[in-house]
């Protein structure tokens, strides 16, 4: 019988708790214990970026972070992004940008990109195309060829600047 540990963390603004084996990844905790299946597993080796969430404000690979390591922390997943939209809007500007420019096709890598972009625009509200491509270089997409994703980020950056005026 493998020992389980109690954990408590805030996910998308809500207090959550669980009783988990030490070997359980944060991704598996989010997906299987909390039912937040928007975070996807593309490699479980930390390379593809599909599992990216924000942990205490920073992007992390939730497939490599253990759930017990997240104890006491704050996590933002794709399911929490719309809640951060401007009042009255159903989708966050970043999500709207992906819709406008067809920044997604199969959707599997998309949650990881959305959170990585959220982190980027929080640090750098007016990134150049080169800066965008560099910041996103840790997220793999097999469908879009990245061009429309870059366009989505530029669209969202512009919309967020307008929103804040």
């Amino acid at each position: 019988m493998i020992a389980k540990r109690p954990i408590e963390l805030t996910v998308n603004g809500k207090q959550c708790e669980g009783l988990v084996e030490a070997r359980l990844s944060l991704a598996d905790f989010l997906r299987d214990h909390l039912g937040l299946t928007g975070t996807h597993l593309g490699c479980e080796q930390g390379i593809c970026g599909s599992c990216t969430v924000l942990f205490n404000g920073e992007s992390v690979r939730s497939c490599l972070l253990l759930a017990v390591q997240a104890h006491g922390g704050e996590v933002l997943t794709v399911e929490g992004l719309a809640g951060l939209a401007k009042d009255g809007e159903a989708l966050h500007a970043i999500q709207q940008g992906f819709l406008e420019t067809l920044g997604f096709q199969c959707g599997f890598c998309t949650p990881g990109f959305l959170l990585t972009v959220y982190e980027l625009l929080g640090e750098n509200p007016s990134p150049s195309e080169a800066e965008i491509r560099e910041h996103l270089s840790g997220n793999l997409c097999r469908c879009t060829g990245y061009q429309n994703i870059v366009a989505a980020v530029l669209w969202a950056a512009e919309r967020l600047r307008v929103n804040s005026e």
Partner: protein
């Protein structure tokens, strides 16, 4: 040609119908959870070739939470063998080509012997995935290692180890096609060249791997299976056949699919094993692969070696081509001659090749099975021909674009008979297209003339700019069929069901646009149901750049028939003449009297049986029609790619400065989605040309088993891609559509290899294989010697 207004066809309608992907609302197979669900994990072979002497499962069975372990012995009398391949062979093709077809029939779990690292040996089921994997680790398999075959050339030699015991040699499939007299032309031609080209092994690597959930639905007793597949009807057929069940009692659903690209097009052992276990255990069972497992179990692609002889004259006209090639099958080839024959069918490209001989041989080796991946044999063909054209140009000191212009099939020569059969058994006939114009547009967008000037200047300064062209034609919309079932729901919504199974292409948008124009509604009023065997009786699936052509055409025909019935009903209810009625704004109205109208909702509610019926005599209840479109043959798209690179002769690094795609895929339904397909395809082609490589060692051990070794191109590696659209509508279907899902991936290896050879022209580097890693580029530079600077 077609009765459809173009209110929505041709417009870049946005993908609102899949906006759930933006909020974490996609449901992929690993997101599906059912009450009391168990989890499976597989024991896979660690040897490339070995006999199984024993499988000890006792330790595993004693572990907490383990529900059972099944080995090859346990299932051999309960799950029948897979077919030799899933390819359908049309009779005219079999008779015309007379191929050799002698593949082995795989079992769901290894029977006494393993043939590749990764082959399934046993399956464990436990309460959760962790426990299932713990049990896998506790299972001890005793192997007796056998000699390993990893090179197809070696596999063909006399006395080579046989990959499959009951075969006479390692050839599984082969064919030869001819036209004209190649022997004579090679003897007599003023010029010939002889080259060997290698198109290496790489793979589709969709971001979502494979996975299956199966359960027996309690009330109906229907074995319900969710699989990350491109072919739910095929999966259903196989499950029913191999588990000896009526198809009626099996339902297969493709949930949201995180990328397909080819390897999800046939049926895998796990797709039979997991449903089998659900039946055995009476509980839902789930299996999802991880990436490491994916690389050793999901099909690889390409892997061809070509020995080529080209005959040409002093004007740069191609006189003939002989190509003998080997395809490294791996241990199984689930799709038979699909790739190899596609290669033969696409070799001539957009050119006139008066004499041709192609022979393809699929050879067994102890590697993961090889199956079609986006392009399916076409990239290999295009690599051969496009490199040959550039070599011919270099030999005669002609501009490579000019050589192409001289050899193109001209627009006034359409329709053009290429002289051999397509794999659907029909003679290849390029139906429409303007190949010189396609190339001209690509060169213009790339700024070709200016680039040639820059190239000369940079060369003086020891910098190497390269411009590479890749032209191709693509047979699209292949059969054998696809269906559309169109129904008007009592709400007034139009529901379209089809066996196609999109995985990111935007079917829900595309087919809504077509239906909207056919019916005079807006795309929001149309709902697409796909990827579910219970929604339409027969289905083929989504692969081969075929869905828009086949589903669009089926939708057109089904709608034409249903509109006829709707008109008859409306005429009866409105007491008007059928010829005075029109469709518009979701209603049928009397021409000139818009107040005399009926909505689709009213019509659907009138077309019921029984006391509420308002049907006239002779009309059956329901507003529904199904049509299965069987294309006469493929319809031919074409494109020209231009790659502009700079090579660093010290580091061997290739920088992609520009990439242009000029393409013609007939009538375009949604330009935004079209560009998405092109960008994605080109990115995959760039990966193949520069980064991706499946590597095996001499013992058949896979060395590139993770994304750390198998390098997918990222946002820094894929440049901005310029696209130019041309439209030569297809004469073969009512809407004039051609396919384009694969196109972007077909030419990049050729265009980039040509660009490198062009950049290194002063060095006469022999660019005959990919990927062009920096170390390989340096090898190419160092192995050669510089020619005089004014050679070109």
């Amino acid at each position: 040609m077609a009765e459809a207004s173009s209110r929505f066809i041709g417009r870049g309608v946005k993908p609102h119908k899949t906006k759930r992907f933006l909020t974490g609302g996609g449901v992929y197979v690993s997101d599906i959870r059912l009450p009391n669900m168990l989890h499976a994990a597989l024991v896979r072979s660690i040897h490339a070739h070995a006999r199984i002497c024993g499988v000890d499962v006792q330790q595993a069975l004693r572990l907490d939470g383990v529900a059972g372990v099944w080995t090859g012995d346990d299932i051999k009398d309960r799950i029948s063998l897979f077919p030799e391949s899933f390819e359908i062979h049309p009779r005219p093709w079999l008779e015309g080509v007379k191929p050799v077809l002698q593949g082995p029939r795989p079992a769901a779990l290894a029977q006494g012997k393993v043939h590749y690292v990764g082959e399934p040996v046993a399956i464990v089921v436990a309460e959760d995935r962790h426990r299932a994997e713990d049990a896998v680790d506790a299972i001890v398999v005793e192997y007796e290692a056998l000699p390993v075959v990893v090179d197809p050339g070696e596999a063909l030699k006399d006395g080579a180890t046989l990959v499959h015991d009951d075969s006479k040699d390692n050839v599984v499939f082969s064919f030869k096609v001819n036209k004209g007299n190649i022997d004579q032309i090679l003897r007599e031609a003023p010029y010939t060249l002889r080259e060997r080209f290698r198109h290496h092994r790489y793979c589709a690597a969709p971001l979502e791997g494979r996975g299956i959930v199966a359960w027996v639905e309690p009330k109906t007793n229907i074995l319900t299976v969710w699989s990350s597949t491109q072919m739910p009807h095929l999966v259903r057929r196989q499950i029913a056949a191999q588990l000896n069940l009526p198809e009626e009692t099996v339902r297969v659903i493709a949930p949201d699919i995180g990328g397909g690209f080819g390897p999800k097009v046939f049926v895998y052992p796990e797709e039979i094993l997991v449903p089998f276990l659900a039946l055995q255990l009476g509980r839902p069972v789930k299996w999802v692969e991880d990436r490491r497992e994916h690389f050793i179990s999901t099909a690889h692609g390409r892997d061809q070696v070509h020995d080529v002889e080209l005959a040409f004259d002093e004007n740069g006209l191609i006189l003939g081509l002989r190509d003998r090639f080997l395809l490294d099958n791996g241990a199984y080839n689930p799709m038979g001659l699909t790739d190899a024959y596609n290669t033969a069918a696409h070799l001539q490209g957009p050119y006139k090749v008066p004499n041709l001989s192609v022979s393809g041989t699929c050879v067994s080796t102890n590697k993961v099975p090889n199956a079609p991946y986006r392009g399916a044999g076409r990239p290999e063909a295009v690599f051969v021909m496009e490199r040959c054209v550039d070599l011919l140009a270099a030999k005669l000191s002609l501009d490579p674009a000019e050589v192409r212009r001289r050899n193109f099939v001209q627009p006034e020569e359409m329709p053009y008979h290429a002289g051999i059969l397509y794999r659907d058994g029909e003679p290849i006939c390029y139906d429409s297209g303007n190949y010189p114009e396609t190339l001209a547009q690509a060169l213009k967008a790339a700024g070709y003339e200016e680039l040639r000037k820059q190239q000369q200047e940079l060369r003086q300064r020891g910098r190497y700019l390269g411009i590479g062209i890749g032209c191709y034609v693509e047979g699209t919309g292949v059969g054998s069929f696809e269906g559309a079932k169109v129904r008007i729901d009592p709400s007034g919504q139009i529901v379209v069901a089809t066996g196609a199974t999109g995985h990111g292409q935007g079917h829900e948008t595309i087919f809504a646009q077509i239906a909207a124009d056919l019916w005079g509604v807006s795309p929001e009023d149309v709902r697409l149901v796909e990827g579910d065997t219970s929604s339409i009786q027969f289905g083929c699936g989504t692969f081969g750049s075929r869905s828009t052509v086949n589903v669009g055409s089926a939708l057109f025909e089904a709608s034409a028939r249903l509109k006829e019935k709707v008109l008859q009903l409306a005429a009866h209810l409105l007491e008007a003449n059928r010829d005075d009625l029109e469709f518009g704004n979701g209603k049928i109205f009397v021409r000139g009297m818009p107040q005399r109208s009926l909505s689709f909702s009213e019509l659907a509610r009138a077309a019921v049986p029984g006391w509420a019926s308002k049907l006239p005599d002779g009309l059956e209840p329901g507003l529904e029609e199904t049509f299965y479109f069987v294309p006469a043959t493929v319809t031919w798209a074409n494109a020209a790619h231009v790659a502009v690179i700079e090579v660093d002769s010290d580091t061997g690094e290739i920088k992609l400065l520009d990439y242009v795609v000029s393409h013609d895929a007939g009538k375009l339904i949604n330009p935004l989605l079209v560009e998405g397909q092109i960008h994605g395809g080109v990115a995959q082609g760039i990966g193949a040309a520069l980064y991706e490589e499946i590597c095996y060692d001499p013992n058949g051990q896979l060395l590139s088993g993770s994304f750390m070794d198998y390098l997918l191109p990222g946002s820094m590696e894929v440049p901005k891609i310029k696209t130019v659209h041309l439209e030569s509508p297809s004469p073969l279907n009512p809407l004039g559509i051609k396919g384009l899902g694969e196109g972007g991936a077909i030419a990049p290896p050729a265009a980039i290899a040509n660009a490198l050879a062009d950049a290194l022209l002063p060095f006469t580097a022999q660019v005959n294989e990919i990927p062009l890693s920096p170390s390989r580029v340096l090898e190419l530079i160092r192995r050669t010697w510089p020619m005089s600077p004014d050679c070109f």
